[in-house]
């Protein structure tokens, strides 16, 4: 059947409101398919026009005037207009907002509807990446009329309308015949939730599903690659995988110790051992595919001897013992075992504890009760977290905070690029964390399926351009 597609996803969305939860699965199903924002990410990560046809930015960079598309209707038939934008943005930044990325809207001073298709957003201060922010899944436009049961019946403006949700099993979307733009090629799309890697493998092999977004077991990819029925798409994600270090904890408050840890790590071994070769080494908290990326992996080359020397210099000639808390994803669990072995080589013993996410959040993230941990930070352009002194790295550097403040009000591209490079260098040279690799997005798709996104500039399975060949 060439008008339908079934896509496998690892996780099921908890509910269907992208504006009040962090779960990537919500965006994977709904972003751009059902909900759209003023701007939207292209497959390459560029920020393009979305529901806003065009926009004007005032000289001082404080006022954005969005020109909205006309003739757009929500799936329930109500028309889309400036009041919906005002409602959505006001809702997201309200006092009692439960938007997981509320920070995206923190800079907004006011939102006004100028007329039915014009919205004026005033910022508190100039903001370099405001349009980028508006492209996030958390900034999509929702309608007041349908907000009450958005969590089970999402109503957006996208090329697909929400069809049916068999909880625990699948979500089906159907083509929106009244779509304002180019209609989708597919009549319907089904997302199936398969968390078990082996089940994913079987479902793919049995051709029960046509594509698996972010296939969970890299060890199987070689097999898919060898099979003419499938294509493996290996792309980029925004996920910087780091060995996070508790910067305030003894002995990590000593930069030499942090450096020693970083130098004890053989990134390629981790990429090979944990990810079966998928992933790009990084030297700072920045995505390699970004134009402003600079390669800083040389700051911490793999050199156990030097690492040992550094430790001795810092007063730990015999090493020390610390904790390594690992959340569930296999990059963390497998990576953790490799890192533990590598650290052991320089005399650092780690007590590994495997935690579930909720425990990890409680202990490591909010309780700062950890020495080392491994996490992939999948939000795009999130180097700003290093400016948050209360963040779980416990990294408190006034210079860096000033740098980020500057960056957030800077709108000149060249200057921004400069600042971004500075930021990368600072944290890299401070050895805040051990920078491991950029998580790869590996999707397996049926060889006859076209238009599937290779990269993941945001967590989205955008099906608007997907079609079958023949």
């Amino acid at each position: 059947n060439t008008t339908e597609v079934t896509v496998g996803l690892q996780l099921e969305p908890p509910h269907l409101d992208p504006t009040s939860a962090a779960a990537g699965a919500i965006d994977q199903v709904l972003y751009s398919n059902v909900f759209e924002g003023l701007t939207r990410f292209g497959p390459d990560g560029s920020v393009n026009a979305g529901l806003a046809e065009s926009w004007d930015i005032s000289e001082d960079g404080l006022t954005y005037t969005f020109k909205l598309r006309s003739g757009v209707t929500f799936h329930d038939g109500t028309s889309f207009g400036s009041e919906d934008v005002v409602f959505s943005l006001d809702r997201a930044r309200a006092e009692d907002s439960t938007n997981a990325q509320k920070a995206l809207f923190a800079g907004i001073e006011s939102v006004e509807a100028v007329d039915a298709t014009t919205v004026k957003v005033t910022l508190k201060s100039p903001q370099g990446n405001f349009l980028f922010n508006m492209a996030w899944g958390d900034a999509v436009i929702v309608a007041e009329e349908s907000i009450a049961d958005i969590k089970s019946n999402p109503v957006g403006t996208g090329a697909f309308r929400f069809g049916d949700w068999k909880q625990g099993d699948s979500i089906t979307l159907t083509r929106n015949a009244d779509y304002w733009g180019d209609a989708a090629a597919l009549e319907s799309a089904t997302f199936k939730f398969i968390s078990e890697p082996t089940a994913a493998f079987a479902a793919m092999m049995a051709e029960d599903i046509d594509a698996f977004y972010s296939y969970p077991a890299p060890e199987n990819l070689a097999q898919f690659e060898a099979d003419p029925r499938f294509t493996v798409l290996a792309g980029n994600t925004e996920g910087e995988t780091i060995l996070a270090i508790n910067n305030k904890m003894e002995p990590f408050n000593d930069v030499r110790v942090r450096k020693a840890v970083s130098m004890a790590i053989d990134r390629q071994a981790i990429i090979d051992g944990a990810m079966f070769g998928y992933g790009t080494p990084i030297g700072s908290h920045f995505a390699p595919h970004h134009p402003d990326y600079i390669d800083l992996t040389g700051n911490a080359p793999f050199d156990p001897e030097a690492a040992k020397a550094l430790l001795a210099e810092a007063g730990y000639p015999d090493g020390f013992t610390t904790t390594l808390k690992l959340p569930p994803p296999s990059y963390a669990r497998r990576g953790g075992e490799i890192i533990a072995a590598q650290l052991r080589a320089i005399g650092v013993e780690t007590e590994i504890s495997n935690l579930e996410w909720a425990q990890w959040l409680e202990q490591a993230f909010r309780g700062y009760d950890y020495g080392l941990t491994i996490v992939s930070h999948t939000e795009p352009m999130d180097i700003g977290i290093y400016a948050r002194a209360e963040y779980y790295f416990q990294y408190d550097n006034a210079d860096f905070q000033a740098l980020i403040d500057k960056l957030s009000v800077e709108t000149d591209p060249a200057m921004r690029s400069d600042l971004l490079k500075q930021a990368q260098t600072t944290i890299s040279e401070d050895y805040v964390n051990g920078y491991l690799f950029q998580l790869a997005l590996t999707s397996v798709v049926n060889a006859k399926l076209n238009g599937f996104w290779k990269d993941a500039p945001t967590q989205a399975v955008d099906l608007t351009a997907v079609s079958w060949s023949e």
Binding site: P197, G273, G336, E337, I338, A341, N354
Partner: protein, 282 residues
């Protein structure tokens, strides 16, 4: 004299001997691994990962290039210890509870014990595990406790069920005439008559225990890496089934043979303990 007779028939029991031999192979492997293994299992060698069995690596290597043979040896420690102690906890607490309930059939004690059991049994084991980790932190010891707790209602129910019809038997009346209380009767008369079932269930729970440890270490309870365990080796080899089947095969066989050994030993023991079939020599 009676004791030597028992030993003699024990030695003559083919099942018992074969079973003990099988089990001790792994017990010895576990002990030897404390002082020596062919390769160090804490050292990773990513470059030589997923090697098939060869002279160099008898059982091949895993996804981190560790020697599977050594892993199986070291894994025996955790797996056997966890399963044994957990079954021990289950039997040690569950059987007395079940016997007490049976002795009290229809009484409030029976009700309290059995409903308590139902409650424990209804809790998803994962939840018990998480609760225990929450309180005590993750470790193999806590895996033992979690699996042990889960075993309690199993043994309690089983022994209560088996004890109930026994309580209607005449030899219980004799014991009561001798002035024995419910506790003593349970220990001296009921227990020997349900050992068959307990042995069978014990070996069953043993293998389930090894597998449960794997499940628990997946969510973070259980032996923490780098300590290997058979269960976790199996769980981790899951996605590699089509590339490196040997990774599952060897720990799988280890579990199988250990449990088989225990079972044979259990069967032999069972025959030995049952006077009505003891001397048949089968």
């Amino acid at each position: 004299m009676a004791e030597t007779g028992f030993l003699k028939s024990a030695v003559r029991s083919r099942n018992l001997m074969l079973g003990l031999a099988l089990t001790s192979v792994f017990a010895i492997a576990a002990l030897v691994s404390l002082i020596w293994t062919p390769y160090d299992v804490t050292v990773l060698d990513i470059a030589s990962k997923l090697k098939s069995p060869s002279a160099e690596h008898l059982f091949g290597t895993d996804h981190f290039g560790r020697d599977t043979f050594s892993m199986v040896m070291v894994g025996a420690q955790t797996s056997i210890a966890v399963a044994f102690i957990a079954v021990g906890i289950g039997i040690g607490l569950g059987v007395p509870l079940g016997l007490a309930a049976a002795a009290n059939r229809g009484g409030w004690l029976d009700e309290v014990i059995m409903r308590g059991n139902d409650l424990v049994f209804a809790f998803p084991s994962l939840l018990i595990a998480i609760m225990i980790t929450a309180v005590f932190g993750p470790s193999a010891v806590n895996a033992i406790i979690a699996i042990g707790i889960f075993n309690i209602p199993v043994f309690a129910r089983l022994s209560r069920g088996a004890a109930l019809p026994l309580w209607t038997r005449e030899f219980i009346l004799s014991a009561r005439v001798a002035g024995k209380g419910a506790t003593r009767i349970s220990a001296e008369h009921i227990l020997p008559n349900i050992t068959n079932l307990l042995i069978v269930q014990g070996t069953i729970q043993f293998s389930l225990g090894i597998l449960a440890e794997a499940g628990l270490s997946y969510v973070g309870l259980g032996a923490q890496p780098p300590t290997p365990s058979w269960g976790r080796m199996l769980a981790e080899s899951q996605t590699l089934i089509s590339i490196a089947p040997h990774l599952a095969l060897f720990p799988g066989f280890a579990i199988l043979l250990t449990v088989l050994g225990l079972n044979l030993a259990g069967d032999g023991l069972r025959d030995l303990l049952d006077p009505r079939i003891r001397r048949t020599g089968r």
